[in-house]
Amino acid sequence: MKADMKKLVEVRNLKKYFPGSESSFFHTGNDVKAVDDVSFDIYEQETLGLVGETGCGKTTVGRTMLHLYRPTAGSILFNGVDLITLGEKELRHQRRKMQMIFQDPYASLNPRMTVGSIIGSPLDVHTKQDRKTKQDRVQELLEMVGLNPDFVNRYPHEFSGGQRQRIGIARALALNPEFVVCDEPISSLDVSIQAQVVNLLEDLQKKLGLTYLFIAHDLSMVRHISDRIAVMYLGKVVELADRDEIFLNSLHPYTQALMSAVPVPDPDLADKKHRIILEGDIPNPADPPVGCNFNTRCPIAVDKCFKEEPVYRETADKHWIACHLVK
């Protein structure tokens, strides 16, 4: 990452709480703090990887950034414009520039619409193109994602998982967005197809100058595609740094454990690897522990970790971390 790069998205102290589901009628259930005070920047044309385990809030961050959820608190600056202050009309205008690729290519395409109308629907909503222009654009998009342009009149069920994901990508690109949130775009695909889709995403980024937020739980794929990586745990970003810095010089005990838990497809390395096995499970986000939220599983926690919440701060150049034990 170059120093002179422009910030495209700035997220500041973002919070998203969902009302507690249990006995919410009497408002006795705690709010689920899905995203709790998260701040980071995304620079133009970079890929920020966002990793974490189930329920850590990574998808909620992505959705809240696109305003699919209304944030509880905090601000999201896109090109310097605070999305939260915008009215509906202005927000819609901004939305053209931000798109999303969803995790499940089976659930995110309407089975009763043809591929042409799926890819064309963003054009219907945001532009007033005539049929011919629209048709041409749809075919151009299909070609761009490596599908046969003659497929416009087919239905989603005629395609395999990988091809469906390509359709989802074409739809996201229809309006020439600047920023795309990729929410686990490959985790439901087979291994040999995953590589095809990742290569496509990388090609498109180069060609169209896209900026990605790449949400995933597969660390090896995130390392492959990202420039910088943010690690989330229980609603908070615990560490954020350059890709190589995270992998070679991670400081947070959770990041270290997460890295060491990634299975390596190489028996020699697997034997040599020092593995940190975390005890226990992820705590309930409606009832997070007092102090550092990782203290229930942290192998090196000290007294302070159970009392005080660590501050998220920049310890070294562009290396952000939230841990008491890191100097």
Partner: protein, 331 residues
């Protein structure tokens, strides 16, 4: 020593409305006592169906085992009646499934579900079975095991449920434990816990384990031997080092290439396998992988290559051109 398990020419078919699905095609291999075998392949490659066939758990109709023998400790399982098979399942071969939430019964306590197999197979009294169930839960690392016997599955987390499943699988000390994608639904840190647990248990108890997965990383840490399956056939099999370090089959080469490696330079493009796996309703005449293979020649399309042993090594490959391809230094 005789093998623990010997599968010979196993063939499973599903007779559907639009044709015959050739799910398992002429699969043969052996497993020794205490061996961990990784069965690797993508969805629909027949890895789970072949294991279910061994257990005679294929629903008929539409499924049918059309050929083959499955010898477990001197007994051909495919010739057994349903009653005899029930004595084998759970006692000789146990199975752990992918999704611990759907494979545990939500209306019975975890303790009861573990006791069930013990009461059925081991002639234990309820009290003995309950004590044993407590021991088993402790063995798989559930804190306060004895107090959790009366919990229901929903009171357990995903990782704990999978541990409870493993406890159930181990309850009758089977000779062979089949684990069908047991960690796919779990997070990486929990997956690491389960792998660690299985390794420990295998050391202590010495049963053979068949680990079915799509993840080449998981089995690299665990298995002694690997079967790579594609479109219902084994395309490459051998000792783990041969598979990862001396890869022969173009499909295995492609699979390993499509995984990002931690030592890749930034900007390295992943080697992807073009195209899609074949439709099992209409398998091609020749090599099932031919349509996607970069090394394809006319012979590959015409004739299916047999699994041939590579001399002097625990390694076999089903490819007409493996010797030439090995010389090309593909990776």
């Amino acid at each position: 020593m005789k093998h623990l398990l010997e599968v010979k020419n196993l063939e499973t078919r599903f007779y559907m409305q639009d044709g015959v699905v050739k799910a398992v095609n002429n699969v043969s291999y052996t497993m020794d006592r205490g061996e961990i075998l990784g069965v690797v392949g993508e969805s629909g490659c027949g890895k789970s169906v072949h294991a279910l066939s061994m257990m005679q758990l294929i629903p008929y109709p539409p499924g049918k085992i059309t050929n083959g023998e499955v010898w477990l400790d001197g007994q051909d399982l495919l010739t057994l009646s349903e009653e005899e098979m029930q004595k084998v399942r759970g006692r000789e071969i146990a199975m752990i499934f992918q999704d611990p939430m759907t494979s545990l019964n939500p209306v019975y306590t975890v303790g009861f579900q573990i006791m069930e197999a013990l009461l059925l197979h081991n002639n234990m009294s309820r009290r003995e079975a309950r004590d044993r169930a407590g021991e088993l839960l402790e063995l798989v690392g559930i804190p306060g095991a004895k107090d959790r016997l009366d919990d229901y599955p929903h009171q357990f987390s995903g990782g704990m449920r999978q541990r409870a499943m493993i406890a159930m699988g181990l309850s009758c000390e089977p000779k062979l434990l089949i684990a069908d994608e047991p960690t796919t639904a779990l997070d990486v840190t929990i997956q690491a816990q389960i792998i660690d647990l299985v390794k420990k248990l295998q050391d202590e108890l010495g049963m053979a384990i068949m680990w079915i997965t799509h993840d080449l990383g998981v089995v690299a840490e665990l298995a002694h031997t690997i079967n790579v399956m594609y479109a219902g056939s084994i395309v490459e099999t051998g000792k783990i080092h041969n598979i990862y370090k001396d890869t022969k089959h173009p499909y295995t080469i492609g699979l390993l290439g499509s995984l990002p490696r931690l030592d890749d330079a930034p900007g390295t493009e992943l080697v992807s396998i073009p195209g899609l796996p074949p439709d099992l309703l209409a398998l091609p005449e020749g090599c099932p992988f031919a349509a996607r293979c970069v090394y394809r020649i006319d012979k590959c399309l015409a004739e299916k290559p047999p699994l041939v042993e590579i001399n002097g090594k625990d390694h076999a490959v089903a490819c007409w051109r493996w010797e030439e391809i090995a010389g090309m230094g593909s990776r």
